[in-house]
Amino acid sequence: MYQYSEQDQQFLQTRTEQFRQQTERFLQGQLSAEEFQQLRLRNGLYIQRLAPMLRVAIPYGLVSADQLRTLAKISRDFDKGYAHFTTRQNIQFNWPKLEAVPDLLASLAACDMHAIQTSGSCIRNITTDPLAGVAADEQVDPRPYAELMRQWSTLHPEFNWLPRKFKIAITGAPHDRAAIEVHDIGLSAFNEQNNVFFRVVVGGGLGRTPMIGTTIHERLPAKHLLTYLTAILRVYNRLGRRDNKYKARIKILVKAMGEARFRDAVDAAWQPIKGGPDTVSDERIQDLMRHFSQPDYAFVNDADQQAVISSDGAFHLWRNRNVLPHKTPGYNAVHISLKRPHTPPGDVSDATLEDLAALADDYSFGEARVTHEQNIILADVETSRLFELWRLLVSADLATPNRGLASDMICCPGGDYCSLANAKSIPVAAEITKIYEDRQQEQRLGPLSINISGCMNACGHHHVGNIGILGVDKKGEEFYQISIGGDSGDTGNGAELGKILGPALSRQHIARAVLNLTQCYESARAEDETFNQTLERVGLAPFKTAVYESEAI
């Protein structure tokens, strides 16, 4: 965990008091509704369909056991005893009362958490690889850079009123587990002769106009990170469209200017500040790194540890699926699926949060990570303790062996909660979960991402799912458009947007259509082809036939 300094803590307290006063002024009629809306959004507070919703940042996905307990307590004290993990390493509470939000923020601040800039037209929570610092394929640990950007972007005076929201993601591994190419800025860190560089990608994004980002710098030395980001943001803040919110994201500006002109404009804004006071020294990064607690790994022989592991079949199924390799011999990253039958994807009860906190304390140095697929990772578990951890996970209903499989769906809250949604998404996820209840079927299919969004804002990342499902409204009725062939980039081959399969389907047909698609894939695939590889070889036609010409539809 990043250890907050006294300054960080005082800063959060001041921010909380500032919002308390703003809320009081609003309730006393001294602050207009339109102004208070902007101020509350920058403190994570939305007014939703049924009640306010507060989105809390989990910076770059790192959360301590104590913080998980605080979140559990908040869900009891201010909410209805549950919370929802989002696709941007945030967590949401759905029923807080407006007057109580300053107290809620104070509870968060007391454990070094906040909701700053989790909404509004400003720089949002910085996200990264949930395996940062432990991934076997990692070249650069992105955490100190993510923290550097968290500090730089927090209440940045110049960038609090951008044309639209702004999302930055960073990875330091060739397998991009942070989907950087579909962010406003994506950073891919790499190491050359002990020097860190970034490939800088700009103008990716999902939503109404999905786009894969454009690389505008192939090899940015790490010391220039903040000045280069400032230059990009300054160009966007000056030139981004403000007349139409659907054309206000930086991707539209990059497209309108063209890659070359945009790069030149950034360069012109960069030259006067390049090498200036915001230049990042090696010492700064080392200092940030020192603020991260380092797990006290035991020197263990992995081969010895393997010997004490059980031969239980269910355990092996789970282990093969949910346990990931680790940089350090004898340790593993354990993936805890929050995609379980009868629970909306990403939802957790207060009891589950307490369970996760206890497991993080006992098995993973008191720390957990949140993934953009809405799951949890315990990143530092000893091999010899996997079996005992698995048994505890089974009893807490947290051992679903479905990491990356069909039932491990990404899903937004949809029409059940969100006022933007055109259609519900949680019931669709539930129906799809049902068809894969027979675990063998999804194991046989292998890795497959199914992503569901309740509207074109694409919080469920439907464009980058192998199978993407988008809720649309047809004359007041809920319909769903299917796209296939998307990829968020974690295969290591770059991100890919899915192609629309055909006319939207009604709710009663959608689960069946997904089943037909996966059956089509299973019968057409050669050897161990992935869904997208098969699609590329055989084309869209057989999948279309499977969905639109089957008897059931």
Binding site: Q7, Q10, F11, T14, R15, Q18, Q22, Q30, L31, E35, Q38, L39, S121, Q151, W152, T154, L155, H156, P157, E158, F159, N160, W161, L162, P163, R234, N237, R238, R242, A269, P272, I273, G276, P277, D278
Partner: protein, 140 residues
């Protein structure tokens, strides 16, 4: 109108009736040749600063309009004037200026604020430096 200005690092307030209060020169039109002595410039939010380099160098008052309080262009114009163009004169913002924004505007290099009466209260001056610590260094 109320003018908030910074003197010796402290915010002070007074009532004014022209935007260029305290400066004798009227607004210079961009099309005019710069006159000798000081120039007052009013910049629109979509201004191309590079075209005005010479005028900026001669200006002692630059007026920036905030068309609506959610329009963030002024912040980047101010920061660019201070950082790229080394402008050291008075940088005054007017328009839809809200008291909850003056601290950020100040941190971007603006040192003079014209506020409507509805945005002015006894507490307005306390909006500056509300935070003892900031993550960024100021541009001013």
């Amino acid at each position: 109108m109320n003018l908030i200005f910074i003197e010796d690092g402290k915010p002070l307030a007074k009532r004014i009736d022209t935007l260029w209060h305290g400066f004798e020169e009227p607004l210079a039109q961009v099309s005019q040749q710069p006159i000798s002595g000081s120039v007052t410039l009013q910049l629109l939010p979509d201004v191309e600063l590079e075209d005005l380099r010479e005028l900026i160098a001669q200006a002692s008052l630059v007026l920036l309009e905030l068309p609506t309080f959610t329009d963030g262009r002024v912040y980047s114009i101010a920061a660019a004037l201070r950082q790229h163009y080394q402008y050291t004169g008075c940088l005054r913002v007017f328009g839809d200026v809200r008291q909850d924004q003056i601290d950020d505007l100040h941190r971007c290099g603006i040192d003079s604020f014209v506020l409507e009466d509805s945005q002015s209260s006894d507490e307005t001056l306390t909006r500056f430096n509300a935070f003892g610590f900031r993550y960024q260094r100021p541009f001013g």
